[in-house]
Symmetry: C2
Subunit: 606 residues, 2 copies
């Protein structure tokens, strides 16, 4: 085996010199040392940073760290992409098809692993190491549900005598097997001093997630996000074993979802005719996500967070579909400009909602649906005569209690439309709101039907209240999981936006649902904590500055959701810095956390 | 003239509909209105947002806003790129050559102006509007100096009878004329409802900058930044009339600058053989910047901020060139890991410095040089016996005063090397530091030679002290102009980095050097305030998350530096939102500030 260390690239240098640094594994740490050419280079000795990181640590820098069992050798085999072969044994043709797509993605990624240096001779030595990968899937589940088992086993065995390595993967479902492939991909690096791919020589890993719902919320309504960028986000999710893309599709600002049955919504509500999601775009995204282990959960937020797209009722003889659209002063009627709320007493909105749900039911195949339901502002309804008349005719006045009644009326009517559209009674998610707080939830929302997504602070007693009442929860406390916090003011004179400061990855990492429940002295019931979601609301985000806000913080969140470690961020820091580099090498524009020096000099940046 | 409004793109829609919105100029505001097809469409009436923004406002959304005189018609002409013709009258062949390059950049940008909508028929109507641009340059200055006049005049005159528009540009220098072209490019938009380019019909603009030094500091040492990304930054600078790229080339963490005379510095000090700047890269960048009106000022920071690249002294019989390299605990010897400081009593460092300066003098053609000089830590020197011996032999002890003496000795020796390398005595910039504060500056640094770059808080009395002592200042107060502030911790347990919170564009915009001087009740002397620099230190930044940290905040800074308006950010907000969109359309990944709704609905997001 020949090592190339590269030389100086400057053509004007009057003498040639060889690269002076190597990385050597010393006491489970990769140490940068001056190369000692005099002693020669031993077979099976590694000098690159990438190679060292692969075999020096017990965890081989995997992210998220496997939860159940991990045993990885500190030795390696080298091979080339052409040496890979696959055998997929699926429980059904459909599962096998999905797995073959996942294998293609895996191979393409291995093939495009880029050498870090431009100056290494890029020839491939002849290796005769064969790597045979066998994948066995034991269930035929091809749609990811909360009940889907995502666990997997991964065994790498290299023959001591033959140039042959076998990789055995078994997954309870396609989704588990795909996660195993992701893990395997992290056990393979490009080493440009050899140059070849390196893989750990022997390994056994058993792994399964701590939480079934590991989500990322993307808001495509405040600003439009391109289909290409959505796919990049799904790529990065798959690298982190996040499994739920919560798509906040519409809001007051815009309505980019083209509903085939109600096309005027996007026609009026999209920012422009090009800033839309067509049915074919959504089908494409849903499939793209599935083969990457990600479920797409649509949110149609109502009755607030509605406006753009609903302006055409009156000119079409249907009355006001939405109220308070763009009403000023906005602060009296909503949380941010522009205002807008559905008109729940206009009977015409329910068939429209039904059509939206029908379109969504045909496009999205998720086992839960998000109905939004946050931030209803009573003053908007309170100053609409049509609503006051309706309340009166229902024996009601205009107290907060009366408006809760109206809201609940809307919620029940919408739910009926949803159920009819989907032809089932799937679980429905709602945000914490006035309808869920202060004892309202148990009066208005059936806990066997509704999942509550908590976006309050982690210490909010509402969390304990909902938990005690038996609701299943998705944790998205804004003080750790809102990735849009910390930037400049959206409007007004304050120097920073409402949920400042910026949340560092360390805080994201430490944000444990179990600890949140424990602080209330409540017994932990894993049936009730489905998991969590990190959210990137897009008032101040669009495709231009999105990836570096999502990553690597989304990775910190992902390890909390998958591995739920008992250790703190400090134990994860070296691995995190490496994983961030991994994401960048895979084309994800993840923010830098430290100087590259810290990546090259393990343990010095503390 | 035919208007196309686009339709709905959904192939599954059972009926076709036309786009319902237009933008109409009402009382100097672009208002989104439901299109009224019944009344027909008048000639010379505009319906696109881009078109409306171009002609509705008195300032035509120019950024930075012209400072001396502006008179722009509210009418437009439409034309196509092929209708443009140019005549350049330069004061010298060299100036003409530069201008022709700038014209090529201008034309290419006009040609690639992208329609916002994918669904408009992209055919070009035949227009016969001729646009003849004449550019006159009156000085032959082709290197940007602090004394270079950047003022320009731009006159657009459309014939009322013929289909002909003449654009007359005069610049005191190539740099002024280039700024005029930038202004002109902002007076041209693509209107996809026509579809054609629109330009204001008549205009007169006279313009010149408030400050001669309008800089951006980029740090390529904490993390490496690719040449391609540096060029993108220079593009964006040129769109904002920023004129100084302050290149913090090297630091303790890495030494990416390939010095032809001292190649071991980069060999040892670069993060990898590929993460370097070769002489040809730098020549390329310097020329690239010049044709875009930008001067590249190199910083070689010493005697602190040094380490990587200087490790080879002892093994080459030259003694320790740098001290405290990677020394722990780092907090005792430097501000962030890793530590390192030059060894000022090792005579071998001065010829090396001389060689670095010689290489830089051949590559960079700026009229000022930045010697860094910040954050020297006395404990590093204090525990080096070689230094204590030297001080003793010079009749000195180890008090702070003695180390200042040593520092000043280093500074004087380095300056001699610099002067010899450049063959002149150009102005030299130093950061505020212990050598400039507490009355030290006047003892150690000649105010006719040294410019001080202030990076303290805006209220620091040191600013007044240095100003009174007659130093020329460059303002970079970190509390408004450090764009790396506000993110997660670099090291340690605090939730956010040292200079948090994140600085919004509004604060950047309001950060006026004149106000900073005025707070000290000092009379303003424009000779002493050269301008300012915004800084993006790269401990937590690399190419992946760089552009959205720089922009649009860098644009807010640019308007302060160029126009120095008496009005506050609120007066600039609508224009800022539009300019941010302009940057994005030109390929700059500028952060979003508000929902696109705010751009489409002027004045509602306040």
């Amino acid at each position: 085996m020949v090592h190339f260390f590269g030389g100086l690239a400057d053509s004007s240098a009057s003498f040639t010199v060889t690269y002076p640094w190597v990385w050597v594994c010393r006491n489970s740490k990769c140490v940068k040392e001056n190369v000692d050419y005099t002693r020669g280079v031993a077979e099976e000795e590694l000098y690159s940073l990438a190679g060292c990181k692969l075999v020096c640590h017990n965890d081989s820098m995997l992210w998220p760290i496997p939860r159940d069992f991990i045993n990885i050798s500190h030795t390696f085999v080298s091979f080339l992409p052409k040496d890979l072969s696959f055998k997929v044994v699926g429980a059904s043709a459909e599962a096998t098809d999905l797995m073959n797509e996942a294998v293609d993605i895996f191979v393409k990624q291995i093939e495009t692993t880029e050498p870090a240096s431009f100056f290494v001779d890029k020839f491939f030595p002849s290796t005769n190491q064969k790597v045979n990968i066998k994948i066995v899937i034991t269930s035929n589940d091809t749609e990811l549900k909360l009940s889907t088992e995502e666990k997997y086993k991964l065994v790498i065995t290299s023959s001591p005598t033959k140039s042959e390595t076998s990789v055995y993967i078994s997954g309870s479902s396609f989704f588990g097997a795909r996660h195993a492939l992701e893990t395997l991909s992290q056990l393979i690096v490009w080493d440009d001093t050899i140059p070849a791919l390196l893989m750990v020589k022997n390994a056994e890993i058993r792994d399964s997630p701590a939480f079934p719902h590991r989500g990322l919320l993307i808001d495509t309504a405040r600003n439009y996000i391109s289909v290409a960028m959505i796919k990049k986000i799904i790529n990065a999710m798959s690298y982190n074993k996040l499994n739920t893309f919560h798509w906040h599709l519409t809001d007051t600002q815009s309505f980019p979802f083209i509903s085939s049955r109600e096309p005027r919504l996007a026609l009026y509500g999209a920012y422009s005719p090009g800033q839309v999601y067509r049915p074919e775009d959504i089908r494409d995204i849903v499939h793209y996500a599935t083969v990457r282990g990600v479920k797409v959960v649509p949110e149609f937020d109502a009755p607030a967070h509605v406006g753009s797209g609903w302006e055409w009722g009156e000119t079409n003889g249907m009355g006001q579909l939405a109220l308070c659209i763009n009403k000023e002063p906005w602060a009296d009627y909503c949380d941010e400009p522009p205002c807008g709320q559905l008109n729940p007493v206009n009977e015409n909105i329910y068939p429209i909602l039904g059509n939206i749900y029908k379109d969504m039911s045909e496009l999205f195949r998720s086992d839960i649906f998000h109905m939004g339901g946050d931030e209803v502002h009573m003053p908007c309804w309170n100053e609409t005569q049509e609503i006051l008349d309706w309340l009166k005719s229902n024996g009601r006045g205009n107290s907060n209690e009366d408006f809760l009644y109206l809201w609940s009326y809307f919620q029940n009517r919408s739910l009926s439309e949803l159920d009819e559209a989907y032809g089932n009674k799937q679980p429905v998610v709602l945000w914490t709101s006035d309808l869920t707080d202060n004892g309202h939830a148990k009066r208005f929302l059936n806990s066997s039907r509704y999942i509550i997504q908590v976006w309050t602070e982690s210490t909010d007693p509402t969390i304990a209240e909902l938990y005690r009442q038996g609701y299943k929860l998705i944790i998205s406390n804004y003080d750790a999981l809102y990735f849009d916090c910390g930037y400049g003011a959206l409007v007004g004179d304050k120097p920073n936006n409402w949920c400042s400061p910026y949340i560092g990855w360390q805080k994201v990492y430490e944000n444990s649902p179990k600890k949140i429940i424990a602080q209330f002295k409540l017994e932990y019931n894993e049936q009730q904590i489905l998991g969590g979601e990190a959210a990137l609301w897009s008032e101040q985000v669009d495709g231009t500055g999105m990836e570096n806000k999502l990553w690597p913080r989304g990775a910190a969140f992902a390890e909390r959701m998958w591995s739920d470690p008992n250790t703190n961020w400090k134990r994860a820091e070296i691995r995190m810095i490496h994983h961030r580099q991994r994401l960048v090498e895979r084309g994800i524009m993840a923010d830098a956390l430290q100087p590259e020096w810290c990546h090259q000099n393990e343990g010095f940046c503390v």
